[in-house]
């Protein structure tokens, strides 16, 4: 599951012309560490929902990778 999440995050990053990351850790923040802006985050939520059928923003703002993992 972590692998799939990493894959999705990297898809979003490469679509935004950013280099893919080698690994992700729970404390990494989506906005600052992974440099995702609002458009990237919107894309991330949809790709995760398409793959895992879970709306990660359902209960409000999700800030870290760990928080996403917690919901999956």
């Amino acid at each position: 599951m972590q692998e799939k999440l990493l894959e999705i995050i990297n898809t979003v990053r490469t679509n935004a012309d950013m280099k893919p990351v080698d690994k992700i850790s729970s404390e990494m923040t989506l906005r600052d560490d992974l440099e995702l802006d609002s458009l990237n985050l919107a894309e991330l939520t949809v790709r995760i929902e398409d793959e895992f059928d879970i709306d990660i923003f359902e209960d409000g703002l999700v800030e870290t990778v760990g928080e996403i993992e917690g919901k999956l």
Partner: protein, 408 residues
């Protein structure tokens, strides 16, 4: 003299004194079609234009060169300059000259036909909502709008006419944004609901006195978050359009026309209509039905006497994506020009982060293998970021309606 603008992205800190000197240069240049990412340059150029009685056309910095060439005829127009010579010895003399200007400010909006259309405004449309006075003197603005859009301009003129500081807090990392809010003790925040949705607040910012939303429908969850993060702030929702400026301001999620406007607003079949006298000047006259203009906004009436209503949705084909009005058809038309795409469908889906998000489906010509990344890169070179579909699915067929039209 006090600070005018703080733009940390462009490493710029400009005082009102420097601005005064910049405006009073002997050999100044005015760019009628400036295309720039530098916020100070955009504001300065706008002022030079207005003060020298020249019309100004505002272009979003993230319009692609192709989009700009399509809108203006050719991209070189953005480089053309007019020599201008002005002299001011105080901020007040600048304001006095501004009040007299007859020049127009041109803004682009997503028209229903898909290509952005130019709307011209006299400064009065913006000045209409500007409040000047002692009580506005010490406001410090957190600026999170695009300076070439209606909402951004409203904030700019409010700040400028009161000699307030504007701190740009757009496009920064969360920590930097919070840092700036604290450093400058920002009292007034103006941004789209998407901005607030993504703002991660660690400790309540009790120095913020007023928050304005605008540009999108906001929801209960967001209000809750705002009240927690900004416990001393009054929250206003602004209903304004590129075509007509600010029409209503509300407290919370419900709108009511002011007492002078109450007979100039009516609701018919849950659609909001406004009387032509509430509308500003426009280059293309709006379509009126017996002196009334239909905003195409669906509303829910909360009470009739006094009239109070909530906005529900728009009836037109444009959708709101993170504060921007986008027409999916415009994106679809561009995607169809990609070699190898036989049929394409671009549509909006509700999204918690941006309000709405664009997705696309594409069918390849026989024998062609399409790549999502390549199509995205193609679209990126032609369209602004908010108009891009975030996901393009390559499919075997796209759903058609009974009459053969592509199903929305």
């Amino acid at each position: 003299m006090s600070l005018f603008l703080v733009d940390s992205l462009n490493k710029n800190k400009v005082s009102y004194q420097i601005l005064l000197e910049d405006l009073s240069k002997e050999n100044n240049s005015f760019y009628p079609y400036l295309h720039s990412t530098d916020t100070y340059l955009i504001f300065k150029n706008l002022l030079i234009g207005l003060l020298s009685e020249n019309d100004v056309v505002l272009l979003d910095s993230d319009f692609s060169k192709e989009e700009v060439a399509k809108m203006l005829g050719n991209y070189d127009k953005t480089k053309s300059a007019i020599p201008v010579s002005l002299k001011f010895d105080s901020h007040q003399t600048i304001l006095d000259k501004l009040k007299e200007t007859k020049s127009n400010i041109g803004l682009f909006t997503s028209g229903t036909t898909g290509t952005p259309k130019l709307i011209n405004h006299n400064l009065n449309v913006f000045r209409k909502s500007v409040r000047i006075g002692e009580r506005y003197e010490n406001h410090i603005w957190g600026f999170a709008y695009n300076p070439t859009h209606m909402a951004g301009l409203q904030v700019f003129f409010q700040a400028f006419f009161n000699q307030n500081l504007i701190v740009k807090i757009f496009g920064l990392k969360n920590q930097e944004t919070l840092g700036l809010l604290n450093k400058y003790q920002i009292s007034h925040l103006s941004a789209t609901p998407t901005f607030y949705r993504l703002l991660s607040i660690n400790e309540p910012l009790d120095f913020v006195r007023r928050i304005t939303f605008g540009g999108e429908k906001s929801g209960e969850a967001l209000y809750g978050k705002m009240k927690k993060g900004f416990p001393n702030a009054k929250i206003n929702n602004i209903y304004a359009t590129t075509e007509f400026g600010t029409l209503f301001i509300s407290d919370g999620d419900a709108f009511k026309p002011s007492t002078e406007n109450k007979d100039l607003v009516k609701i018919e079949d849950n659609l909001l209509w406004v009387h032509k006298s509430l509308l500003g000047m426009n280059q293309d006259a709006p379509v009126l039905v017996a002196d009334w203009y239909c905003t195409n906004d669906k509303v829910e009436v909360l009470s009739n006497n006094p009239l109070k209503f909530k906005f529900l949705s728009r009836v037109s084909s444009t959708v709101n994506i993170g504060g921007y009005n986008v027409d999916p058809k415009e994106t679809e038309d561009v995607l169809l020009t990609y070699p190898g795409v036989k049929i394409a469908r671009v549509f909006a889906k509700a999204n918690r982060v941006l309000g709405n998000m664009l997705r696309a489906e594409a069918v390849a010509e026989t024998g062609v293998e399409l790549s999502e990344k390549e199509m995205l890169d193609f679209l990126k070179s032609k369209l602004q970021a908010h108009k891009l579909p975030r996901i393009i699915k390559i499919v075997d067929e796209v759903k058609l309606t009974r009459t053969g039209k592509i199903k929305q």
